[in-house]
Subunit: 195 residues, 4 copies
DNA sequence: TGCTAAGCGAGACGGTACGTCCCGTCTTTTA
DNA sequence: TAAAAGACGGGACGTACCGTCTCGCTTAGCA
């Protein structure tokens, strides 16, 4: 179908020139399509790119499971993988996908499916291993990791700040692990603890 | 000096049409300046906007101190203020400033000075009050808040996700407070706790 | 068709501001056309103007035939008409048309057709009348007039020199009439005459 | 003096890029002069170029006298020299100099002095030789040649038309020689001749 | 000897036009 | 009969000159 060929061109061009420099004109040229044909299908550049990403083939870099033997090590490994994922695309692309994707659960899912374990999710295997080791209480939930890690690393990436092992260690120790530990019984009455 | 007048126009236009739609042409028209004059000073739109923000007057919306009587309330109030700050500019603006600014400590400081208490910092008064109330241990440090709150809220803002009181409560309870509590003596040996 | 409207504007502007001051921008403004539309059709200003002149309607100032009763009078009248024609356009226009036109027989013919009897040609009626009066020998040919008159008058015009009746009389008496008379039997053996 | 250096740059640039493409900016750059300095001296580009040509050194290509043994041969040789002279400069330069120069007798003389025998004048030696041979009557005057040759050849040059020996022969035979012969006793009553 | 004033370079300035590119809409042609 | 091909008005891009102007910095000459 025509649409598929067009979207392949979109992805090619995205890779070559980035999101900002991608134009309808160039897509039409590359796909030997009429601009009218493009506009008939997608109202905006964003729509077109989103469609292209949705249609894109699952990028098969399925990495293996994470298991370093400790929660701390696992979390750092996951963060590193996530950071790698982010730095592999260009900044605008990352941003565009985030900007577009998280408004669109559909696309969000497509990206996850397409890109495999990105480090944005905290795998159940890591959780259960940590609980088994006694590092996390039974009932701990992945929310803190998933809410925090992506945001913090993306912004550091956008801002050109490093996310080296020192920083990641600090992040894991002072934020992620305390929050994960507390996630089993959320919102305990504060008084109770210190009384 | 000519530069000041031009930058005022830049800020006006930024407010009116946003970053993406801001053009050299429009700035030149508004400032009754030649395009050559603009290009002589700033190579790119980003440079020009950054200069405008740096030069911009302190935006006097100095809000009062936060003191709701509880750490939880204070944190939620700070997050709300931060969210408001972010939503006051348009998305691309926020992003641009972040993208530009955090690479440039100068600009970073300028923004903070210009915009007053944005909610991006955890005021010492809030910390000490919480410690006085026994909500936080002596020695607690603001790092978790400052590292997390900005990132998470900005991304939610960029993604059009709500940051209502329900969400903020959850964020505060499951992430911020546990992490702040743990910040006094970071990296305790994990075993020690659960043994 | 769009092209015709545009070329009309070109001719208008040519008349108003002259060739040198004519710009693509102004044509686009006047014709409410995009500059791209102009550049798509004509690579250079000269091309555009040449096209406009080619397309231009026959300028209806068809003057009547010349017949003053003597060859001398007719020739002076023709020169005056030619001079008037030349001075009606601005210098650069004249030059441009000559420069462009005479390299392009097509355009050359178009100009002649468009502008009617310009005085650049020696009408057959003038020739035959002169022959009838005995002022020219049978077999006289218009070449000397046509080769000379245009060149000389154009250059005087370009150089701002006058071409008044005194000058024209001189030109006719000392150059045109002798040459026309000699044109019947060209290249007579020189000796024969003075022997 | 500063002016001399500047005018040298003008001549250099004239030679390199031609008249049309010559700009005040470029002259200022090359001469390391301020634009104000240029404008203080010359109001227009034409003025500046004219000044440069006036100041330019005499170009010493003084060619020898012409003497082929016949008037016809001499005239053709002179025309060829004139044509060569014209084709040595670029079209716009020729035109500019003519346009500027012939309005300005000063410059006109400067050009003649600077460029030596250009073929634009009919040397007295050629005239007297022709009279001696009986090819021209006593009292013949050079006006027809000088008025005609320059104009006709310049226009052919501007129009890219050839001025080969065939054409020159025709020009000499049908126009120049008859007119020169008639120049001794101008304006004979026409009737007288054919009666 | 010290001061003043002219001339200079440097280049900023508001403008205008350049020629290119892309936008989003539209007709016209081809298969 | 839908798609390609691409013309169209619009408008921003970044560059180059225009002609005017204000700066300091020489560098005299005059005091």
């Amino acid at each position: 179908m025509r649409e598929v060929e067009i979207l392949e061109c979109v992805l090619e061009l995205l890779g070559e020139v980035g999101y900002d420099a991608l134009t309808f004109e160039a897509v039409a040229r590359r796909a030997k399509a009429s601009k009218a044909t493009l506009y008939r299908r997608w109202e905006t550049k964003r729509d077109m790119v989103v469609a292209a990403v949705k249609a894109g083939p699952a990028s098969v870099h399925r990495a293996g499971a994470v298991d370093t033997g400790s929660l701390r090590g696992d979390l750092i490994a996951l963060c590193e993988r996530l950071d790698t994922t982010m730095r592999s695309a260009d900044a605008t692309m990352s941003l565009m996908l985030l900007h577009a994707g998280l408004q669109d659960p559909d696309l969000c899912r497509h990206i996850e499916e397409a890109t495999g374990p990105t480090g944005a999710k905290l795998p159940a295997s890591v959780m259960s291993a940590a609980i088994g080791r006694g590092e996390l209480p039974v009932g701990a939930r992945p929310f803190p990791y998933e809410e925090i890690a992506g945001s913090v690393l993306l912004l550091r990436r956008l801002n050109g700040l490093p996310a080296g092992s020192e920083y990641l260690g600090h992040l894991v120790d002072t934020i992620l692990i305390p929050a994960l530990r507390a996630s089993a019984n959320p919102e305990p009455p504060l008084r109770a603890i210190f009384s």
